[in-house]
């Protein structure tokens, strides 16, 4: 069994220094890794990123993160990423990483992702340049997620997890106003996850959404935005499968 702890949208700033640390220090007892699903800061400033870094350094479990839209607000995502990497966190944008923990090889593919909406109610690559770029930007992130998941499949992990900030499915947005769904996620992420295959998809971003959802391909989706889970993190126990079921053989079997 693989024990996955996850939280997103912790929105830390100088006034929240140390708030999550007591709970995070219990992680080695209950989890094999910690996933951070973006919006770790309020404005994406280096000062806020350093608060997050202190919160997650030397936790005793690997930390894998993606950034969120808030972490981009100050236009310094590379600096935020570097500050988190300095304390050992794996920060992913269109990449995958394999962490070995609790005797398992856990593959995580991550991207911030972006919006655009869901099938039948989504933006299209049409019209004004800014509109086309909006959709292309979202598509590039989904394509990179798919490629990263496929590479992890070839590496023979015990489990593969898709980590995003934006949501791949509308179910986990339930509770948010319908009108803003296109700003909360994109079906392109779900299509990438279903095409490449994954054991679990974890995202944040939708504070008023719901925890549970599933892609149309049958991959479980969990919205771990901190306001949704109402805790410092949630833990998911994932059964370990044969390597073949997470890789190319699973694709061949479909």
């Amino acid at each position: 069994m693989i024990r996955i702890a996850a939280v997103g949208d912790i929105h830390m700033g100088p006034d929240s220094r140390g708030l999550l640390r007591p709970a995070f220090e219990t992680l080695p007892e209950c989890a094999d890794l910690l996933l951070l699903a973006g919006d770790l800061t309020r404005h994406g400033t280096p000062e806020e990123a350093r608060v997050v870094a202190q919160e997650v350094r030397d936790l005793g479990v690997p930390v894998v993160a993606v950034l969120g839209n808030h972490d981009h607000h100050d236009d310094k995502p590379d600096e935020v990423t570097a500050i988190l990497r300095d304390v050992g966190a794996h920060v992913l944008e269109g990449q995958g990483t394999v962490v070995e923990s609790g005797g398992s090889r856990i593959g995580v593919a991550g991207t911030k992702g972006f919006g655009g909406g869901f099938v039948g109610r989504c933006a299209g690559e049409f019209g004004e340049p800014v509109m086309k770029e909006f959709v292309r930007y979202s598509r590039r992130r989904a394509d990179a997620l798919r490629a990263a998941l496929e590479r992890l499949g070839e590496e023979g992990c015990d489990a593969r997890i898709a980590l995003t900030h934006y949501s791949p499915v509308p179910e986990t947005l339930a509770g948010e106003p319908l009108e803003i769904y296109p700003f909360l996620g994109s079906y392109l992420l779900a299509e990438a996850i279903d095409t490449a295959g994954a054991d679990l998809a974890v995202h944040g971003h939708a504070h008023a959404g719901s925890e549970h959802g599933m892609t149309s391909g049958g991959v479980r989706v969990r919205n771990v935005a901190q306001p949704v889970i109402g805790r410092a993190f949630h833990v998911y126990h994932l059964p370990v499968r044969d390597h073949a079921t997470t890789g190319a053989a699973a694709q061949a079997a479909r």
Partner: protein
């Protein structure tokens, strides 16, 4: 035939229109010091209701200060809660 045209055919002064005041408040919460997009602000009758979860108690105080400043003269009801930071008491088993 009357030649009278109201100064504001749409009704009230734009500056007094509660819808727009709420929209401007949300812009200010998002783009200002707080970077707060998680607070829902809704007109309820003659009052305004705030709901959502915020990261800390000081953050909530700052939001309320901003709201009262931006919506001066409007009764505001706040149901903002501060996020819970305790460890979970159980795990979910994914079969």
């Amino acid at each position: 035939m009357s030649t009278h045209r109201p100064e504001h055919p749409g009704g009230s002064e734009p500056a007094q229109n509660l819808d727009y005041r709420i929209a401007h408040l949300q812009d200010r919460l998002a783009s200002g010091e707080l970077g707060e997009l998680g607070v829902r602000v809704e007109a309820r009758g003659q009052t305004v209701l705030l709901t959502g979860t915020v990261p800390s108690a000081p953050c909530r105080e700052e939001i309320l200060r901003t709201v009262h400043e931006e919506l001066a003269g409007v009764a505001v009801h706040s149901d903002l809660v501060v996020t819970e930071t305790s460890s979970p008491d159980h795990a979910e088993e994914l079969a």
